[in-house]
């Protein structure tokens, strides 16, 4: 019996040690490589402490898209401002995750003048994004990140942490590819109603549930409060889509109006602003040409107005 218990204890100690060692090795292997906001979907790989940015984008893929590959440079050049993008696409991150990222970056003494929260209506109706276990899979293992997360109330917390840590030993971590560049340069040929509806089914996996909407609005309100505490101005934009308004658009807009009355936030509805398919690579993601056009004609004037 003694021998058995001794061996079980030995495995219980040695295996976690070995596991952590391997995780740290593979994490630091990628962490030591050069990354920037344009060539990775990770947020921690390129952001350093004690930095200042004029603008930070938050949201899902519609936000992240503004920084993928050349898009970030295009925007910075047109707006003449430094940009940070902590938006997260690929169905990995909801409003909870976005709030946590912001909290972490403030804790790293990062100053942001203006936050553009790209408020895609599907984000507000999604609980599955708040429960996603792969939210942090793109991030290197950092103790301060884990320790802050452990103190945070979050859905699916331990599942997410396990996935975050174990993902460092998966082939995808070593490949660390950004969003495919050729996709961003491609153009939507025609408007396909069936594809739009299929897209709605994928985007609204939890349906148009008002309870989820209210919970997510509460989290966004906390995001506003955090931004205000850190002297960042928060602006909501509803992003453009080739089909115009998403389901749940009116509720999203009235939430923006309400926040505008309660806090110092502003909001802009760009949902109907660009309807030409040539500016999109699918029905709701701007391609590089679209990002350029949108920045020049809409975001530029937004910053002029502010």
């Amino acid at each position: 019996m003694k021998k058995f218990i001794y061996k079980i204890l030995l495995i219980s100690i040695l295996f976690p040690l070995l596991f952590v060692l391997l995780v740290l090795l593979s994490s630091s292997y990628i962490d030591n490589k050069e990354f920037n906001n344009a060539n990775t979907e990770s947020n921690l790989l390129f952001i350093q402490s004690d930095m200042s940015y004029d603008i930070a984008f938050m949201g899902i893929s519609h936000a992240r898209n503004f920084s993928r590959y050349g898009n970030k440079l295009i925007m910075e050049k047109i707006l003449g401002k430094s940009i940070l993008n902590i938006g997260k696409g690929n169905g990995k991150c909801g409003v909870d995750g976005q709030l946590f990222y912001l909290k972490y970056f403030y804790s790293k003494n990062i100053n942001i003048d203006t936050i553009i929260y790209v408020l895609s209506p599907p984000l507000l109706y999604a609980d599955y994004l708040n429960r996603a276990s792969n939210t942090f899979n793109d991030e290197p293992v950092r103790w301060d990140f884990i320790s802050l997360y452990l103190k945070t109330i979050s859905k699916n917390k331990y599942q997410r942490l396990l996935s975050y840590i174990s993902s460092k030993l998966k082939p995808g971590w070593f490949l660390q590819y950004g969003f495919p560049e050729e996709r961003l340069k491609s153009k939507l040929n025609k408007i396909d109603t069936a594809a739009i509806n299929e897209g709605f089914n994928l985007a609204y996996l939890d349906g148009l549930n008002e309870n989820i909407f209210d919970d997510n609005c509460e989290t966004i309100e906390k995001t506003i409060q955090l931004a205000e505490q850190n002297n960042s101005k928060l602006i909501f934009i509803i992003p453009p889509a080739v089909f115009g308004k998403w389901p749940g658009h009116d509720r999203t807009l009235s939430f923006c109006k309400k926040m505008n009355e309660l806090y110092t936030t502003d909001y802009y509805d760009f949902s109907e602003s660009i309807k030409q398919p040539k500016f999109y690579f699918d029905h709701h993601h701007l391609n590089s040409e679209g990002v350029k056009y949108f920045t020049k004609h809409y975001l530029f004037s937004l910053f002029e107005a502010n």
Binding site: F4, L14, K170
Partner: protein
């Protein structure tokens, strides 16, 4: 409580320590402790259904005692009947009531009559099909005078509720398990380490293989009308591995856990996908259920020692009943029926006991003929599993007609790199270990300590990196 849960990871060491260090002085107390632990394990899911286990155990314990005293054949039959009615009655009520009501209603509707029937909203108690069959085997064996009835209520209740195999088997026979509760247990180092290895492999099969196949399988079977045949073929193959990983995984964890407590349970899966014909497949798949039906249904019906017509009838009866045991749906009955049809040519040609040894014994690779035989058997069982997985018979037929359409040769619409790599690893290890009781039984490597540890650590690493730790239930919990 699920084997792949944090709760069980705490429960098992706690029960282990108390079992070997606190209640080890007295066999009765140790058995009583096992009953309490097993009831806690079961109550974690729903404590209300503990009453059914207690009821079933009590009836069969008392019936056993009466059978021991009684010599009149009529009265003995009556006692046996009491046990059968009590156990199958529970099963019929909780599992099949709505099925029968719906089927009658549909039959009336088919003939143009509309009747309104009352349906009950009943939760299916986890493991009811397993423990009722286990306890029934006791009364039948006592009735047949194969087994002396036990006078120890504690041992009997511990036998019925023994937590490692309570909710999803193996369905143990009293002749194999009950006597183990009478003997003082001594801790056996080799048995316990082998148990740990078996648990590890069971977790691998469940968390890495079955649970990584599950999301794709669910998607493909739910949206089969939108996918090309090639994707449906992948879905069917993945389901074959999902159900095998899930169920054999559960069995391995159960057997391994029992070993930690000094118990030996029967092997439930013996690498069924390396079978060369359907008869061999059924000797290797869910062995505890197949042998249960063989001993308590097939042989009493005459088995193979009767006229050919009756043999054919017996084969259909055993397969259809076995299918129906799995669930209250026509799809399971169809699954059983299809397997009977597969079995029939082997029976008629008297080739059903041809492949009783291990395929490619003492060879690394199978011959081309053996490979073709295994592939064909796998194809047949996979096709039958489409019925097992589908929501209805019409869904199963639609799935199969979509599968065998011209789109079978289109490019599949799923990314499978991870699943294929893991399945390959799984199949290779199982193939190399096919002559062992479980895939991590490394007898020849026992002297190479470092190699053994490298294997353990590698399996654990894959488990933690690629395992799906969302709390997914074992498929057979539903049966």
């Amino acid at each position: 409580m699920l084997f792949n849960s944090i709760e069980f990871a705490i429960f098992l060491p706690l029960v282990f320590v108390l079992y070997w260090f606190v209640v080890n002085k007295n066999l009765k107390i140790q058995n009583l402790f096992l009953i309490i632990a097993s009831y806690v394990f079961y109550a974690w899911w729903d404590w209300r259904f503990l009453s059914l286990i207690i009821f079933s155990s009590s009836v069969d314990f008392l019936v056993g005692l009466q059978l021991g005293k009684e010599n009149s054949p009529q009265r003995r039959k009556l006692f046996l009947l009491t046990s059968i009615i009590a156990n199958l009655g529970l099963l019929a009520f909780f599992k099949y009531f709505n099925f029968f009501v719906n089927s009658f209603s549909e039959a009336f509707t088919f003939f143009g009559f509309h009747i309104s029937v009352a349906r009950l909203s009943i939760i299916l108690p986890v493991g009811i099909s397993f423990y009722t069959f286990q306890t029934l085997s006791y009364t039948i064996d006592v009735y047949r005078r194969k087994l002396e009835p036990t006078k120890s209520i504690v041992s009997f209740f511990a036998f019925v509720s023994f937590f490692p195999q309570l909710v999803a088997g193996p369905i143990e026979r009293a002749t194999n398990l009950l006597h183990q509760f009478f003997k003082p247990r001594r801790f056996n180092y080799s048995q316990a380490t082998d148990g740990m290895r078996q648990i590890l492999w069971g977790l691998f099969a469940k968390v890495v293989i079955a649970d990584n196949c599950a999301p794709l399988v669910n998607d493909i079977f739910s949206n089969y009308d939108t996918y090309p045949g090639s994707t449906l073929a992948i879905g069917a193959v993945l389901f074959a591995f999902q159900i095998y990983g899930d169920f054999s995984g559960y069995s391995n964890i159960a057997i391994g856990t029992a070993k930690l407590f000094g118990f030996s349970l029967m092997q439930n899966f013996a690498y069924p996908y390396f079978s060369r014909d359907i008869a061999e497949f059924w000797r290797r798949w869910h062995i505890s259920l197949s042998t249960w039906f063989r001993d308590y249904v097939y042989i009493p019906l005459g088995g193979s020692r009767t006229s050919l017509e009756k043999q054919i009838r017996n084969v259909f009866v055993i397969f259809v009943v076995s299918g129906f045991w799995h669930g209250a749906n026509w799809t399971f009955i169809a699954w059983g029926f299809i397997n009977a049809v597969y079995f029939l040519p082997l029976l008629l040609l008297k080739r059903n006991r041809r492949n009783t040894n291990i395929v490619a014994e003492n060879r690394l690779f199978p011959s081309i003929y053996e490979f073709i035989q295994m592939s064909f058997t796998f194809f047949l069982s996979t096709l039958a599993f489409v019925f097992f997985r589908s929501e209805s018979i019409s869904d199963a037929f639609s799935f199969i007609s979509h599968l065998f359409s011209s789109s079978l040769f289109d490019l599949p619409q799923v990314r499978l790199t991870k699943q294929i790599s893991l399945l390959l690893l799984f199949v290779i290890i199982e193939w190399l270990q096919r002559d062992k009781k479980h895939a991590l039984e490394f007898k020849s490597l026992l002297n190479h300590r470092y190699l053994r540890w490298v294997i353990y650590f590698s399996v654990m690493l894959i488990l933690f990196v690629f395992g799906n730790f969302n709390k997914t239930e074992f498929i057979y919990f539903a049966f």
